[in-house]
Subunit: 414 residues, 2 copies
């Protein structure tokens, strides 16, 4: 992106995660990278996470004084993690002879709602950021944190530092937001599973969202959603190399030429089937209210047409949640007049994602053919406009991923 604006100075937001700033020597590396970006003629705002391990250490401390620490105080405590990193990063840049200043979330003008430990960003007033940029400073902002209108410290929850970076990029109208992490970008499939998986050069927000919710753990969905909402292009790339990463941006015409962008897999899944559920209004609501009431997060839900007035309702979830789900449902089954509950783990989910499938037919058939040729039985199917997900035996997930990857030609040079 920056190259498009070569005649003026570009404004770049860079975000470095906990591994990238994991110790003082890594912070020095980040400092050098940031300085190189500035010396290439850019203004730079840097968002950093807590050094890896620091947040866990703080949580452990909190547990030593309270079995259920107050969420307001948890935010005050955890915010120190990123505050430590911003100071050290600014010092490191200063030590290398460049101007840098650190800003906490509050100082950077990040205003959130008052929901402690998982606050939402309401507004950003980047007055101090602009002020320091105008003084040729590199500005280092603490990720993951903000403050309420009344001045209480808040944190943004999981994936909060990515969100900070994207929200600041939107607020300062950055030319690009670079999310530095410990992977090289978004791949057509997990390279540990499919060795010839390729790094994806460009991907649309919607595809990235489907990948994220299907097991590709590069970024939390909320950050991608925020970027989509505010049209912030961003790049996921590695802080340990100089390779270009994956650019995530608005859909372009040419993107539809690729039918399938990537294959995601998610292991450690389980499925629960409630058999012979009476086909009456309100029954499904009862089941899923019970599940939600027990704080169990579920993924796919499948219900087929009813035969003889009853139907089977199935859903998938992380296998760790299975005992909780069974306990919650056992009494409900009698109450709603269903036959029973079948719980099974040892399954995994495979998803193929691509906006191209909107304009290409036969995608599902091609996937099912490929799996069938490998002797892999499909237990459940669920689809969205740009995704087809199947549940299969966990032991076969790697084979299935390779077959799907090959079937859609993802390993070939794009």
């Amino acid at each position: 992106m920056a190259a498009l604006f070569s005649e003026r100075m570009s404004l770049i937001v860079q975000k470095y995660g906990g591994t990238s700033v994991g110790d003082p020597s890594r912070i020095m590396n980040v400092a050098k990278r940031v300085i190189a970006t500035q010396e290439a003629g850019n203004q730079v705002v840097v968002v950093v996470s807590a050094m890896s391990g620091v947040t866990d250490g703080l949580i452990k401390l909190a547990r030593e004084v309270s079995s259920a620490p107050t969420e307001r105080e948890m935010d005050v405590l955890l915010a120190t993690g990123e505050q430590t990193t911003i100071a050290l990063t600014a010092m490191a840049i200063n030590a290398l002879g460049k101007k840098a200043v650190s800003l906490t979330g509050a100082q950077a003008g990040i205003i959130t709602d008052g929901v402690h430990t998982k606050a939402k960003i309401a507004n950003i007033t980047p007055k101090q950021i602009h002020g320091f940029l105008d003084e040729d400073c590199i500005v280092i902002v603490a990720g993951f944190q903000g403050q309420t209108m009344s001045g209480q410290i808040t944190t943004l929850g999981r994936g909060g530092s990515d969100l900070t970076a994207i929200a600041i990029a939107a607020a300062v109208k950055a030319d690009i937001c670079q999310i530095y992490t410990d992977v090289e970008g978004v791949f057509t499939c997990d390279p540990r599973v499919v060795p010839h998986a390729r790094k994806i050069a460009e991907i649309s927000y919607d595809e990235m969202l489907e990948m994220a919710s299907s097991g590709s753990k590069v970024m939390q969905s909320r950050s991608v959603e925020f970027a989509k909402k505010f049209k912030v292009p961003f790049e996921v790339r590695s802080s340990f190399s100089n390779n270009p990463g994956t650019i995530v941006k608005e859909e372009t015409m040419s993107m539809e030429n690729v039918v399938i962008r990537g294959v995601s897999i998610e292991r450690n899944q389980a499925k629960v089937t409630i058999t012979n559920v009476p086909d009456k209004p309100g029954i499904a609501a009862k089941i899923f209210n019970t599940i939600a009431g027990a704080n169990i997060i579920i993924d796919m839900i499948v219900q087929n047409v009813s035969v003889a007035g009853t139907t089977d309702i199935s859903f998938t979830l992380n296998k760790d949640e299975l005992p909780k789900a069974k306990a919650a449902l056992d009494s409900l089954v009698k109450e709603i007049g269903a036959q029973g509950v079948i719980a099974q783990d040892g399954i995994a989910k495979l998803s193929v994602v691509g906006i191209g499938m909107r304009s290409h037919s036969g995608v599902a058939a091609k996937l099912f053919d490929a799996l069938s040729a490998g002797g892999i039985n499909i237990q459940m199917i669920s689809t969205s406009e740009i995704k087809i997900a199947v549940v299969i035996d966990e032991a076969k997930i790697a084979d299935a991923a390779k077959l799907a990857h090959d079937a859609f030609g993802l390993g070939e040079k794009g």
Copy 2:
């Protein structure tokens, strides 16, 4: 003090130092003590330091990214130490079933000048403190830190948390400010040196200041000066016992009845004498400008009347500063036409302090008699209105302290 206002609720500011909040179990003890204070019918504001060792750990981290960390960033970094303690302390109180909220220095309304790492408090707007007190909360404030008018994080330097406590006590018009520490109070002499030294029940600001500057390390002078200026009575007491400590307050009539409040000693001193200094205007200024220019902190300065147009000028300093002082003076001696520099360590300072000496004569004579009876030679003498200080051989300082302590009857029940 609180007892004087038994018909209304008292407002108490308590400060706990790094040792008192040194680990989670000690923080729980502080929480219990604070709750007991509230349950006795008081409103409570608590100022805490960083857990002992935390600040040193942060400084070590900073040195790993920079040999000379930027002072602005040092403040951002060090401020996390107290922020960690306030969150943990509030959580601990919450865990014991009471309402508590933490506030950083900035949130507590502490506005400082912009001199990073040693900022001065300019103003306190305790709006949030009052707001939370009105909601029956115990308010936990981070010591040692504040922010500038433009929102930059600052720290107050050595003794900063004591200063925070006293400044907040002044701002909220507290009935008393309790400085909890790891000693029982201010003693007539260091009990490790004079075993029958007694805890002083009440002492005036001026006496406390002279004791502090004479080697009694209980508190930094600047906090005492601040308390004196704003007439804030405070109590120095132990967080490890329930014993009353020492109340520091404005001078009262009865205080003058005690001639000597206490004896302070300071070891590791050295003295420098410049011999045969021409007795001309501007020479002393030249000497001490040279010393100050080399960033050497000196203590006593003694100059006697000149004989035959020259005089000897002596001063004392910490013995660690001696090589630096010699180097700074060696070339100056020729320049000003003096004879030479004699530097000597192995000396110590003994001071007797008391506002009573203003109205009692013979104090100096009594001190000199006592030392003489013990065969102790006095090398230098310096006096203020309420202090007599002498420099002696360091090997004899414990004997001298016992002799002085006995001579003024400090060991007897007061």
